[in-house]
Subunit: 345 residues, 4 copies
């Protein structure tokens, strides 16, 4: 392995980007946090001061062109990804791009084509679950063939609550279901052929007009079937579970029962309880997955390689979610059509 | 409560009927097993001898008309239920009828109308899960309103294997899904409005042409949604699970983790394991539910009352399964139309 | 099996006895509740009226001598057991005797000798855990030898609270630890050689001067070791757990995690939780064990046999608890000396 | 935080030391692996080549005096710790010292006194469980006082097997129980007052004359009681569990049930099973604890601070284990006497 640590620049230091900056500064080997960029200059400056010796750019493109930056972690809004990704590709800079790759399939294809023209895989998409130890073990188990072919997945995705007052039904598909889309593609190793989104009567905690929870069905290319529950106002916490059903066995990951287990006096002295607490958000649940993801990206980037989900995975998930949003309005299955000329990297 | 025990006759002493006969003879209070009837006279005679002092009838109708029989437990094939049920109704004899009520909705309606004409509810249908302590607690929890309205159910139904060489896809709907149909109606307290059956690529253990597993979606009258997996060749055992998702909480019953929990040396000295065994069939899993069901039926019959699922529940489940079989061939949702004139008892 | 049901008389209708009376009247096959006796005549009369057609005796010995009583369930205070047991033995009446057999080892031996002189085993002691499905499965597993010899047991016994204002440390040994004594003897199939009771600093919920919790160590005749926690003011509920450690595997029963499993909004809208409730008392936890115990006793009594724990088991547990009370005052191990001439039945 | 990474030297590159070297090279931020030392020069050289650019010393003291080494991780045999620790103290070099601190209490005190004389806490002892997320959460929960005072701990420590043909009973106390000693001191925040080791009849897998499993009792200074099972030939895997019992609640960590949960066809097509696998050794179970421990040590060392277990903790655990070895031969409790003049750091 080369001697010098990878000098990383982080673009966008909102909640997610700031987390990544702190991770790079304090928990990742063989990398240094070299620079950060954010339109909110104060926020960027404050973080840089905290972390010590980090350059601040107001302009993300400036950061990308900074000669002291070997690799870029993109945590900016999806709407500016296309421009920033193209700038990275132009310079041959490895990128870890938080999802979505871009906002629509056209621009995603444009990025993929630029990357192919550059002759090297440079973009890893931030589907961090692929680095979660439980998902990795499940993938390994399914791939081992010990239980034959995988027939079904049942996926559950619950958020505590959605504070955004402008939240719309489509955002459940685009921002939450997209993770289940990637997990299905990852675990089963194949594309989604069609998607159907079913709209139950919503919870009273949903904003007026928002369909929450949603039930979706994916039919995979091979005929395997995936059921999904996405519920973003569960009020109980962040629960991400997956059950895989194969020909002679099944496996569940993400049951909120790991770790500390308690029994205790009941609330108000009532019935005693056994159990434990539920992670309130993704940062606790997937903290370790993020660490492993970023370390793997740093290690691969230093070797000039790419591991993990690619720009094709970003494109494919965007196409599926676009189909899902169409199905949301009718309840009927919608076929997923992936552009032929682009071969999977 | 009246002093005399209820004298029960059991019609049909195959696996299920013989179990019930033994239960009545040895585990149920305030009842006696008075008579059994089965076309296979030898099998009936052998069982009668084992259990001691039990009359044997070759003709089920003769048993029904036996003056020493106060109540009838029907465990004969569904195809002869109509005639036997009508005979019971004619005599005013309480019946515990194993599912299905009858083979089609027309005959089910005929039975319901005869019962209504008789002016008294006489038929309890053998949906034993309603008496399972876990289902009862789940029902109680959902009805308590503690967690608001119930939005979704996720139901799983797995059998070890299906030995029948004439098994067909429709039988999964009719014989297995029917239990999930009744559970959905019971737990949510409302009718199913439509049913959609989705056909994944089958397991290699399915007979040629048989769709196994199957995924089904029920849309309830209120807009709640139910997802179902039925998999009759899981090779792992009998797993019946239900997860209910309400506005501020969820609950799972039937996880195969109760009772004894072991850690042990691995097979062939390999990796050690933690966990336990899975019930191979419904008789172990629902043994206690059957005991409670039959005791409740005996107690209610002695009081001249009826508790538990009624002939209407038998009819409604038949109509849903008929719609399910139609959906099985197309994959599209099929509406469930229940006959209006019959009011729910 | 004989045709007539067993006519049972219940002596003592406090909480436990009244439960048994209701059980015999409504849940046990091939038995009738013939009579009840209690010094509190009003309480007895009220219960008799509820249950219908049950004779009431003020004098327990009168009930024992009632010609319409085939068998007696003794739920009277331990201090009157000797006299009542001897009266049963004199008439050759089978007895199910709630623990303790008698209040001290001398009187227990006297009962055993009277029973032996009568030439027939008549007394079953009410150690109901031997009929609990989980304990039965554990016993079966250990006896199977699949995991070699059993080396250790770890037993936990927690009660919600002890309301008795006259409660003393010795009562933890005599009334609670006694169940663990019997379980150790039952599961390991051998006698206890010595007992050591260790006194931690008590919970603030213990009465002044009462040692609660207590930790005890049994050394078995074979050299196996048993650790016990008894904690009668745990404030969380009734938890009875046992872990057996054998040469190549271990097993836990009684984890409070079976049945319904929920996730839900946190108390006061705080962190969400997963888990379930804990049985508040023994009646819920061991309801089924009591049903099975009483049914087994009825069935065996009708055949003129005895199954389950015997008077010897009652005697041996009394001797161990007496030694335990001695150890409680010193913290040192005390040897258990069982009287030689009495051979185990 | 200072800009330069901490240059770490690793002394001893057997299984544990090599793991740490790889950890420092590939998973720890703000540190570099500068040098390694091992009497087995070939083994050291091979590892250095693998990891790239790492200096190799044959003499550990040479490594300690290497000007390019800012901090030392000691993974050499316990018998050479005293000399190496004193050399580190002399140079003011921070050390992470794998347990034991030294081989006896005298030498441990000598090290503590040298450290005090140097005027700065330099030694962190490698009790990695204090950095395990589950132990940390348990500690936090107990310290929160939410459940009142902690009354009891029940600790379980099982190893798959012990391959060492020279293994002796005392090594269970010194090498395995020592971790439970530290956990009890850590979780309860107080010293152990006495220790009693009880010897069950051993498993048939124990070497002749070796007492395995062992049961130990700690009485804490406050009167809390700790029960321990150590079983080093369990044949099932590495199981480290701890249950804490407080006045109004209890908590269990380390149940081997976290992560992936499977159901599957039974071995040889027999009864299906639910559950999962058990970690075979400490490296899997505590991998994350080691990462967190080393990162915390690196971070603190760069700030000139010390977090985690100190030389006093190393000394105290040695004294307790010495008392435990004495108790092993008699079965009686042995008091733990800590040297007064040394105040806890």
């Amino acid at each position: 392995m080369p001697d010098d640590p990878l000098r990383v620049g982080v673009v966008g230091v909102g909640v997610m980007g700031a987390d990544h900056a702190r991770r790079l500064a304090g928990r990742i080997a063989n990398a240094t946090l070299a620079a950060i960029a954010d339109p909110d200059r104060d926020r960027a400056q404050e973080l840089a001061t905290q972390l010590g010796g980090v350059r601040v750019h107001a302009d993300p493109l400036e950061l990308i062109r900074d000669d002291g930056v070997d690799a870029v972690l993109l945590a900016s809004p999806g709407s500016v990804h296309t421009e920033q990704l193209l700038a990275c590709i132009e310079r041959g800079t490895p990128v870890l791009c938080e999802k979505p790759l871009t906002m629509d399939s056209e621009s995603s294809l444009q990025v993929i084509e630029a990357e192919r023209a550059a002759g090297r895989s440079l973009i890893q998409v931030g589907f961090m679950r692929r680095f979660d130890p439980e998902y990795m073990r499940l993938k390994q188990l399914l791939d081992s063939g010990r239980w034959g072919r995988t027939l079904l997945l049942h996926q559950t995705h619950r958020n505590l609550t959605v504070p955004n007052p402008h939240f719309r039904s489509e955002m459940i598909v685009r921002d939450s279901l997209v993770h289940e889309v990637d997990c299905a593609r990852f675990l089963l190793g194949e594309e989604i052929a069609s998607v159907q989104v079913i709209s139950p009567t919503p919870t009273r905690h949903a904003l007026k007009g928002v369909v929450d929870p949603q039930v979706s069905i994916f039919r995979m290319a091979s005929g395997a079937v995936v059921t999904n529950e996405v519920f973003v106002n569960s009020r109980t916490g962040y629960e991400v579970r997956c059950e895989a059903v194969a020909e002679t066995g099944s496996a569940i990951i993400g049951r909120p029962s790991s770790g500390i287990y308690t029994t205790g006096v009941g609330p108000d002295g009532g019935e005693g309880t056994w159990g434990g607490g539920i992670d309130p958000d993704y940062r606790t649940r997937f903290e370790r997955a993020y660490d492993i993801e970023v370390q793997a990206w740093v290690d691969a980037s230093r070797r000039g390689e790419l591991v993990g989900p690619t720009s094709w995975d970003g494109y494919a998930s965007t196409v599926v979610c676009t189909a899902g949003m169409e199905s949301l309005s009718t309840g009927a299955p919608v076929d997923v059509v992936l552009r032929a000329p682009v071969t999977r990297t």
